[in-house]
């Protein structure tokens, strides 16, 4: 079992359990009688801005934004649960790393992500590889971010920008270099466009 991820903050499993209970118990995820639901261990999610790519800052500029788990039932991917940091408040001051429900998303991208994780796990062999999810939302890129003996690598999840091939393993610098031109053009666009 070579794919590894950081340990989430204390209490995450309870939050995840409660979220699943609510999603399933209240019907947001419809399941048949005796269907068995399961969630993957949370993976850290990072976001990278177009400005950072345009400036060639690389993965060092990626910002940790939350944790993501895949919800399955009877082996079928139902979606992903995202947990985000609890907003600091009087009650939680000093413990802002606690997580809360951020969103539950269904669709082809989530199924592709789960398939990409399974593929990466098979491909990893015996080497220990640390894995996270990288999003570059401005360029419609979702990728697995692997860190192992070979340094940082990205595997784009389909569908992905045309400059990248989905499922292919890229050195992170090389993958991000293919996005510089698109990132610059996003940076130039005004703020009412997509």
């Amino acid at each position: 079992m070579p794919l590894m991820t950081d340990s989430p903050p204390a209490g995450t499993e309870k939050v995840l359990n409660d979220v699943v209970s609510e999603l399933v118990g209240h019907g947001a995820v419809a399941m048949g009688l005796r269907a068995q639901a399961a969630v993957s261990a949370p993976m850290r999610v990072y976001n990278l801005g177009a400005d950072a790519i345009a400036a060639g800052k690389g993965l060092a500029a990626a910002q940790a934004t939350g944790w993501l788990s895949t919800l399955t039932s009877n082996g079928e991917v139902r979606g992903t649960i995202e947990l985000v940091p609890q907003r600091p408040s009087r009650k939680t001051e000093g413990s802002s790393d606690r997580l809360r429900f951020g969103g539950f998303t269904t669709g082809p991208l989530q199924r592709s992500l789960a398939a990409s994780i399974a593929d990466a796990e098979k491909a990893a062999g015996r080497s220990r590889v640390r894995v996270a999810v990288l999003r570059v939302p401005a360029l419609y890129l979702l990728a697995l971010w692997l860190h192992g003996d070979d340094g940082d690598q990205l595997i784009p999840v389909p569908p992905c920008p045309q400059t990248l091939k989905p499922g292919e393993r890229y050195a992170a610098e090389r993958a991000l270099a293919t996005l510089v031109e698109a990132a610059r053009s996003v940076a130039k666009a005004d703020d009412a466009r997509n």
Binding site: L3, V15, G27, A41, P137, A189, A192, R193
Partner: protein, 219 residues
């Protein structure tokens, strides 16, 4: 590898306990925690209580920059099932092209654009403005069968359009740390898919670094 045990609880689905969580800084992501219980198929609308949905379902965008076309076409279909608009025909019309239905991925066709202009093109824009909508405004619009659309601006530049199709309060987030008054939205997104999100996350933090920058009233 940390072990996970599963126990049945009278109230919750299951409780998990990691027995060696502090011994290691990393975890095996293949570890799946099973939730053993017989589930009933339950109607979300009935059980979410105050939930209400408009029926707007935004289709998947056919090209990476066509969220504006996917949203406007879906809004057009929502109000008029006989609408003859398609994503690519909207793109052709808005960008002054003629080949986007056969070569949509070309540089001339796969362009970012404005949702207000595309909605105007299909005759479905009532008004638009920068800024967010209050939860009460979203409720009112959906109750009146006029689902709003939104633009999320990403930290570092760029943005994305989507529809807001349902609202609900209090149930899903009850024990998730957001308190019993949590407000949720169902977002119908042409790229990320459909999602149930916390209202506050949709205002700031959608897909990690999005901020709700513009709102669009449809008709």
């Amino acid at each position: 590898m940390p072990k996970t045990t599963v126990k049945k609880s009278s109230r919750s689905v299951a409780r998990t306990r990691r027995t060696s969580a502090k011994r290691t800084a990393v975890r095996d992501v293949a570890l799946y925690v099973p939730y053993k219980r017989a589930w009933w198929v339950i109607d979300i609308i009935k059980l979410l209580g105050s939930a209400r949905c408009s029926g707007l379902a935004v289709e998947h965008q056919q090209q990476t920059n066509w969220c504006w076309a996917a949203v406007s076409n879906s809004v057009s279909n929502f109000y008029d099932a006989a609408s003859t608009w398609t994503e690519c025909s909207i793109v052709d019309a808005e960008l002054g092209q003629s080949t986007c239905c056969t070569n949509g991925s070309s540089a001339a066709c796969n362009q970012s654009w404005y949702l207000d202009k595309a909605l105007t093109r299909v005759g479905r824009l009532q008004s638009w403005a920068s800024g967010t909508l209050t939860f009460a405004s979203v409720q009112s619009l959906i109750n009146n069968g006029r689902p709003p659309c939104a633009r999320q601006g990403w930290s570092g530049g760029g943005g994305h359009f989507m529809g807001i199709t349902c609202y609900f309060e209090g149930l899903l987030g009850k024990w998730s740390g957001a308190g019993s008054t949590a407000k949720r939205l169902r977002i119908t997104d042409p790229w990320y898919g459909d999602s149930v999100v916390d209202y506050t996350v949709f205002v700031s933090g959608y897909q990690g670094t999005g901020s709700w920058t513009h709102s669009y009233h449809t008709q």
